[in-house]
């Protein structure tokens, strides 16, 4: 009889472990695996545009933190991460000369470049497991005043994409100023607030870390 109890407990324990694996561990691993694959696409665009577009590494971290601040659910955060890797994939269809042109673009070239979101979305739609990411990719440059009802994750992508591009060339303060200027017109107010809070928090953390290491030295 004692043996039966043990066996029963083992079976229930195994089943709990199985359920945990099936609904928590395995989906997380699947998502990581998928992101690793898509990183190749983002890197490809980064190399093709000499670092101007497609950058994903700094963006995924900060976007995740901002999404947490805005309490986006897990599935939406994951969808947003996939969209970060795929957002500029449409650049493969744009001629190399246009992408890497020194100086100002002509009107036609600008129109061509602006189509990349649409092309990226149509490429994403073709990949069977990623069709649900396509709307987010299509809207990654969404303007708040034109589409105020777009998903919050699209607004995060739009604001962060611009922030990253400006922060790369100018300093971080200038980038934050651009975001502030666009509140309510170009960018979603809640999203800008969350981004600014996150940046402030990061700066504070960095300063604290520095102070701690300085204290250690002294």
């Amino acid at each position: 009889m004692e043996g039966t109890w043990w066996a029963g407990l083992t079976a229930i324990g195994s089943l709990l472990a199985l359920a945990y694996y099936a609904f928590v561990v395995a989906p997380a691993r699947l998502h990581r695996w998928r992101c690793e694959g898509l990183r190749a696409f983002a890197r490809l665009i980064e190399l093709r545009t000499q670092g101007r577009y497609g950058k994903s590494e700094p963006l995924t971290q900060i976007a995740h933190a901002v999404a947490l601040r805005l309490r986006l659910p897990l599935h939406e955060r994951r969808r947003m991460e996939l969209a970060i890797y795929l957002r500029d994939i449409g650049m493969v269809a744009i001629p190399y000369a246009t992408l890497n042109k020194q100086g100002a673009l002509t009107c036609a070239e600008r129109v061509l470049l602006d189509r990349h979101a649409e092309i990226s979305a149509s490429i994403t739609e073709q990949i069977p497991g990623l069709w649900q990411v396509a709307p987010l990719v299509r809207m990654h440059h969404v303007v708040y005043s034109e589409h105020p009802d777009a998903p919050l994750s699209a607004h995060i992508l739009s604001a962060l994409d611009d922030w990253l591009r400006i922060a790369q060339h100018a300093d971080a303060d200038a980038a934050a100023a651009v975001l502030k200027q666009g509140i309510g017109t170009r960018y979603h107010p809640l999203v800008v607030q969350a981004i600014l809070d996150e940046l402030r928090q990061r700066a504070l953390d960095r300063r604290n870390r520095l102070a701690r290491s300085a204290a250690l030295w002294l």
Partner: protein, 436 residues
């Protein structure tokens, strides 16, 4: 013997074995009057069979692959509770019913339902007879001894089933038996670890409450299915990534389209001939498909230039192996093929690029890709727009002679030797009317 004939001989053998087993099991089963239990178990197992999971085997297969269900734990549980005869009949019934239903749903030929049935009956029979050999007492209370018996029965069932399925696949799809076995053997311990607790639970439920007990098993059963679905999806994602990157290279530079497909197939064949393990051969196929990935980040005006390239332009083109590796550098699951892509333009005499490595310093896989890539570039594509823009294409014999001439300096001697054999065999086959 033709493929068709081989298939029918194999099918008849399986049918013979299955018929004998079913007849042997059926006579004592009729006297037991277990109809209500049989109906309940069939209903649950049918549900499991119908929620099929597809496991893709190769990147080039788009809609094919190995379909498998998770009805095995139910069959094993019934073997332990009601005896092996019950298990064999249960497996036959559900395989046939689910197969016919799936055929209707997916518009496939109903004969596959029969093929599946005659494959699963011997597997269930083998598992059942193992349990009999262990002198397991049917319908005994669920004790500690049950779990090892379940694990053993699952192992026997899956090994026998995998063997039979691999032989069928090797006949129908032309893939090699050891390769299919290698693909499935890796996941065997994980599959058994997932199935054994479920099987134990079903055994306990059947022993305590009969068919009614199965209702309580439904929830954990769906959890098990979810685990399998995710495993299969992971494999699918891997292939999808490779396929999508391959398409991207093809679309960005159309002249490389057919080239990539041919180079990958040749490269895999050469790797097989050189005696590399089956999973390594698959990796060679994938690396060959992606070897020109770096070209997607080079200016198209240089790549598609009809005249000769200037020194600066040539320097730019020479960067593509490293750029290809750089693209994949953040993707850990492709890290094995990364050096092969980076070194597919190295030469044994040390005059290659980008690193100028010599002989054995260059991985064998990269040497294979180098030979096959150069050969296909020399003979050019079949459609006019697939021909290389800055070169006249050679005949097959001219290209082979050129490879031979450069063996030892530009190309690896051993690889060239094997590749020549592969091409000659292919030519013979083509003359005989078969395609690659």
């Amino acid at each position: 013997m033709t493929k068709r004939k081989r298939f029918w001989v194999w099918f008849c053998c399986l049918t013979g074995v299955s018929t004998i087993l079913l007849f042997w099991a059926g006579v004592p089963l009729l006297q037991q009057h277990l109809w209500s239990v049989f109906g309940g178990v069939v209903a649950l197992a049918l549900l499991a069979e119908l929620l099929l999971i597809r496991s893709p085997l190769r990147p080039e297969y788009t809609d094919r692959g190995l379909w498998f269900s998770v009805s095995t734990p139910i069959v094993v549980a019934t073997i332990l509770t009601y005896g092996w005869q019950f298990g064999v009949w249960l497996d036959a019934t559900i395989s046939l019913l689910a197969g016919l239903f799936t055929a209707q749903l997916k518009n496939t030929h109903p004969r596959w339902a029969l093929v599946n049935t005659v494959q699963s009956v011997p597997s269930a029979g083998a598992a059942g007879l193992t349990v009999v050999a262990l002198q397991w007492e049917p319908a005994s209370p669920a004790g500690l001894f049950t779990l090892p018996a379940i694990v053993l029965a699952l192992l026997v069932y899956m090994v026998v089933n995998t063997l039979l399925v691999s032989v069928t696949m090797s006949i129908v799809e032309g893939v090699r038996v050891p390769w299919v076995l290698g693909q499935t053997a890796l996941s065997l311990p994980r599959d058994i670890a997932l199935m054994a607790p479920i099987s134990y639970l079903i055994t306990a439920a059947l022993a305590a409450y009969g068919a009614v007990g199965l209702v309580g098993v439904l929830a954990p059963y769906l959890a098990l299915r979810q685990a399998f679905v995710i495993g299969a999806r992971q494999q699918e994602l891997y292939h999808q990534t490779i396929r999508s990157l391959g398409f991207l290279v093809q679309r960005t530079h159309p002249y490389t389209g057919g080239h990539l497909q041919r180079v990958s197939r040749w490269a895999r064949r050469v790797a097989e001939r050189l005696g590399l393990p089956p999973d390594r051969c698959e990796l060679v196929y994938e690396a060959a498909l992606l070897h020109d990935l770096g070209k997607t980040v080079i200016d198209e005006r240089i790549l598609n230039k009809p005249s000769l390239l200037s020194r600066e332009e040539w320097q730019e083109v020479k960067k593509h192996p490293q750029l290809g590796a750089e693209i994949l550098s953040n993707t850990p699951f492709l890290s094995t093929i990364l050096p092969w892509i980076a070194m597919h333009h190295e030469r044994p005499d040390g005059t290659g690029y980008p690193f100028g490595l010599k002989g054995e310093q260059i991985p064998l896989e990269a040497r294979i890709i180098a030979v096959v890539d150069a050969f296909d570039a020399m003979i050019g594509g079949e459609a006019p727009n697939q021909k290389r823009t800055h070169r006249r294409s050679m005949t097959l014999e001219e290209a082979l002679a050129e490879l031979e001439r450069c063996a030892g300096t530009q190309f690896d001697e051993q690889v060239v030797h094997i590749f020549k054999q592969v091409v000659q065999e292919w030519q013979h086959q083509r003359v005989a009317g078969a395609s690659v």
